[in-house]
C-alpha cells in the first residue's frame, strides 16, 4: 500500500536497459489471468441470463435493472428504487465498518505498545501478533465457531466459574460475524500502525509534555495526525477483505442473511443461477472498493511527506 517507492535514484544502467523484458512476465500473467477475466466479467454483467446458469450473448441492462429498480414481485409495477440489494450492501458495509472499528480499538494500543518496546523484544511481540494470521483462515473461523457454541468451551468455562448461569448465545448472530471478521483481519490493522508509530519522533510528544499538554491531549493533537497514514492503511486492509468476506457470515452467522460475498456466490453456485446478475454485483463491489482506494490515494497524495 506504500506506493511504488522511490527506487534507487536514477537506477542502474544494466536494469534500465532490461526494464521491459523484466516486467513482461508480470504484465502477461496478471494481464491475462486477472485484467482480462475482470474485463470479461464486466461484459458478462451486460449479457442475458440463461435459465438456471450460463449466459446468452445478447446485450441488456437487465442485471443492473434488477439491482437498482424494484418493479414489484410480478414486474409490472412502475419502477421504484430497489432496496433489497442496497440493504445487503449496506449491511455488509456496516459489518465491515464495525469490524474495522473494533480492530482499530484493539489494534492501535497493541501497535503502540509494541512499537514502544525496546528493539530487542519488539520483534518477538510483532512475531506473536502475526503468527495467527498465517494459520489457515478456514481453520481459524472453525475454531472460533467451536469456541463460541452454546455448549462450547467458552460458555462452559464461564458457567463453571459461576460468572453466568445459562449459556450466552453468540453463535449465529451478527455479533459472531463481527467477532469473526475482527479476528480474521486484526493483524492487518496492527502492522501498518506499528510501522507508523515506529517512525514517529517522540521528541514531539516530549515537547508537548513540556508545554503541559496532558497525555491524552498529546495523543489526540500530536500523535494521531502524524500516524494517520498508518491508521488509514490499516483500516483499508481490514475493510476491503471484510466487505467481500464469505466464511465468517456462513460459518459464524448461520447463513441467515445474504452478505455481498454470499449473494454473488448464490448466483454462480446456488439455486438462482443468474450469472449476469452475479457479475453485476461483483462489478458494483469492485467499483466501491476502487472508490475507497482512490480516495485513499488522493488523501495520501495531499498529505505532507
Amino acid at each position: 500500500m506504500a506506493g511504488p517507492g522511490r527506487g534507487t535514484g536514477s537506477g542502474d544502467a544494466t536494469y534500465r536497459a532490461l526494464v521491459r523484458p523484466l516486467l513482461i512476465p508480470s504484465w502477461l500473467v496478471i494481464g491475462i489471468l486477472m485484467v482480462l477475466p475482470v474485463a470479461l466479467m464486466a461484459v458478462y454483467s451486460f449479457l442475458t441470463k440463461e435459465f438456471r446458469g450460463g449466459v446468452i450473448w445478447d446485450f441488456t441492462l437487465a442485471a443492473y435493472d434488477q439491482f437498482f429498480l424494484d418493479r414489484g414481485l410480478f414486474g409490472d409495477e412502475p419502477p421504484r428504487i430497489e432496496w433489497t440489494y442496497i440493504t445487503i450492501f449496506w449491511r455488509s458495509i456496516w459489518q465491515a465498518v464495525l469490524a474495522t472499528l473494533l480492530c482499530l480499538l484493539i489494534g492501535f494500543p497493541t501497535a503502540w505498545f509494541i512499537a514502544t518496546r525496546p528493539a530487542r523484544t519488539r520483534g518477538i511481540w510483532l512475531f506473536l501478533v502475526t503468527i495467527p494470521y498465517w494459520v489457515n483462515l478456514l481453520i481459524r473461523t472453525v475454531s472460533l465457531r467451536f469456541l463460541l457454541r452454546d455448549q462450547g468451551p467458552m460458555n462452559e468455562a464461564l458457567m463453571s466459574l459461576g460468572l453466568i448461569s445459562s449459556p450466552i448465545s453468540i453463535i449465529n448472530t451478527n455479533l459472531a460475524v463481527q467477532i469473526g471478521l475482527f479476528y480474521s483481519y486484526l493483524p492487518f490493522m496492527v502492522l501498518p500502525i506499528y510501522a507508523a508509530v515506529e517512525r514517529y519522533n517522540f521528541a514531539l510528544s516530549e515537547a508537548a509534555a513540556d508545554l503541559y499538554a496532558s497525555r491524552w491531549a498529546t495523543l489526540r493533537e500530536i500523535v494521531l495526525p502524524v500516524v494517520k497514514p498508518g491508521i488509514i492503511a490499516g483500516c483499508i486492509l481490514v475493510f476491503i477483505p471484510s466487505l467481500g468476506a464469505f466464511l465468517a457470515p456462513d460459518l459464524l452467522g448461520g447463513a441467515k442473511t445474504f452478505m455481498i460475498g454470499s449473494l454473488i456466490d448464490e448466483q454462480f453456485r446456488g439455486s438462482q443461477g443468474n450469472w449476469p446478475f452475479g457479475a453485476a454485483v461483483a462489478m458494483i463491489l469492485m467499483t466501491l472498493v476502487l472508490i475507497v482506494l482512490l480516495v485513499y490515494a488522493r488523501a495520501q497524495g495531499r498529505a505532507p511527506r
Partner: protein, 339 residues
C-alpha cells in the same frame, strides 16, 4: 532450469489408475465400505465430490463440470430438468442387466419413463424433527417450524435449500407449487418473513450435527438424516405433518460426456444389486427402490419410525420444476427472505 521444468511437469500430471470413476454425490450418502467393495471388485478407482443441494449440483455442472463427472445423484424433478437441458446420456437395457431389480413402482416414473438415463438410489421425505427433551407439546403441524412455540423459537435450523423450504412453506399455507397467484405468493412471502426471526440458522449439511450437538432444538431435515441424528444420541422425533411433506427419490444418472462411461454403467449396475442397495440404506437410513433388499437390512432401519409413518398421515408431494417466469417469482421470495 530443465530439471525445474521436468519437476513442474511431473507434479502437474495427475496419477492415472487402471480405470477411474468420478462421482458427484450428496454429502454423507454413500458408505465408504461400499465404495471400497466396488473398487476391489472392479479395480476402478472412485473419486467422490459432494454437494448439498440439487441446485448447487446443477450450477456446478453448468459452470464447466459437465464432462468431468460420470454420474451424479439428482432428485426426481432435477432428473427432469437435466434431461430437458440435454445433460444426460442414455443407456440401453442390455447395458444395465440389473434393470429388472428396480421395484415396479419406480420403473416407469414420469421424470424418466422406462428408466433410460437413471436408476433409483434411495427415496425418502423432507419435513422436520423436534428434540423431545426440549419440547414435549404438539408437533403435528408445520407451524412447529413456521410459527413455533416459545420453547423452540430461536433454536431452529432450516435447510439452506430454496426449493424444499418454499415447498414446505406452501404446504403449510395450502398453496399449490409453481403458482403465479399474486395473493398466494404474497402470503408465502409474508409468512416466511414473519417466521425467520424464530430461526437460528440456515444449513443443509449441518442439519444433523446441530440436532446432535444441541445447537438447535428443532430443524427441517430429511427422514434418514433425522434417523441418524437419533442413532447418534439426540432424542429427536421426525414428524409427518398434517399439512403434508415433501417426498423425493434420488437417482443415479449417467451424465452426458462422461469420461468413463463404461465404469459408470458398472457402478450403476453394482448399485442395483440388492445387497449393495441395502448397504446404502443401512448407512443413510432411507428406503431403496430395489427388489429383494429385505434380508440385508438392519432391523433398526427396517422398523425405524422415520421410515414407517403411522397410518393415515397426509400423503407427501413431489417437487415440481417451475417454468422460467414462475421460477423468477420464487427466486425473488428467496432473496427477500435472505436480504
Amino acid at each position: 532450469m530443465r530439471k525445474l521444468l521436468l519437476t513442474w511437469v511431473f507434479l502437474a500430471s495427475p496419477a492415472f489408475a487402471e480405470g477411474q470413476l468420478k462421482v458427484y454425490h450428496w454429502f454423507e450418502y454413500i458408505p465408504d465400505d461400499l465404495v471400497q467393495k466396488f473398487e476391489a471388485e472392479t479395480g476402478i478407482k472412485v473419486t467422490i465430490d459432494t454437494y448439498d443441494s440439487n441446485e448447487a449440483m446443477l450450477a456446478a455442472l453448468k459452470a464447466g463440470k459437465l464432462g468431468q463427472y460420470d454420474v451424479a445423484v439428482p432428485a426426481d424433478f432435477m432428473v427432469g430438468i437435466m434431461a430437458a437441458e440435454g445433460m444426460l446420456d442414455s443407456f440401453t437395457p442390455e447395458e444395465m442387466p440389473n434393470l429388472g431389480n428396480i421395484e415396479p413402482q419406480w420403473l416407469d416414473v414420469p421424470f424418466d419413463p422406462g428408466r433410460k438415463h437413471s436408476i433409483p438410489y434411495q427415496w425418502g421425505s423432507t419435513s422436520f424433527s423436534v428434540n423431545r427433551d426440549v419440547y414435549q407439546g404438539d408437533i403435528s403441524s408445520l407451524a412447529t417450524i413456521f410459527d413455533p412455540p416459545p420453547e423452540l423459537s430461536g433454536k431452529i435450523n432450516v435447510l439452506d435449500s430454496q426449493n424444499e423450504l418454499l415447498i414446505l412453506g406452501s404446504l403449510y399455507l395450502g398453496i399449490p407449487q409453481c403458482t403465479q397467484d399474486r395473493e398466494a405468493l404474497k402470503a408465502l412471502n409474508d409468512m416466511l418473513l414473519a417466521a425467520k426471526p424464530h430461526w437460528a440458522s440456515f444449513g443443509s449439511d449441518i442439519a444433523k450435527d446441530v440436532l446432535v450437538s444441541g445447537d438447535a432444538a428443532a430443524g427441517m431435515i430429511y427422514n434418514g438424516f433425522s434417523a441418524k441424528a437419533r442413532a447418534e444420541g439426540a432424542n429427536v422425533e421426525y414428524v409427518y405433518p398434517k399439512e403434508g411433506h415433501v417426498v423425493w427419490m434420488d437417482n443415479v444418472v449417467l451424465l452426458k460426456d462422461a469420461p468413463n462411461r463404461e465404469n459408470a454403467l458398472k457402478f450403476m449396475n453394482f448399485l442395483l444389486e440388492p445387497e449393495n442397495a441395502a448397504a446404502v440404506t443401512n448407512y443413510a437410513a432411507y428406503t431403496s427402490g430395489v427388489i429383494g433388499v429385505d434380508p440385508f437390512l438392519d432391523e433398526a432401519i427396517k422398523t425405524s419410525p422415520e421410515n414407517n409413518p403411522p397410518e393415515g398421515i397426509t400423503p407427501g408431494v413431489f417437487a415440481q420444476a417451475c417454468d422460467e417466469e414462475t421460477q423468477r417469482l420464487y427466486d425473488a421470495i428467496w432473496t427477500n427472505l435472505k436480504k
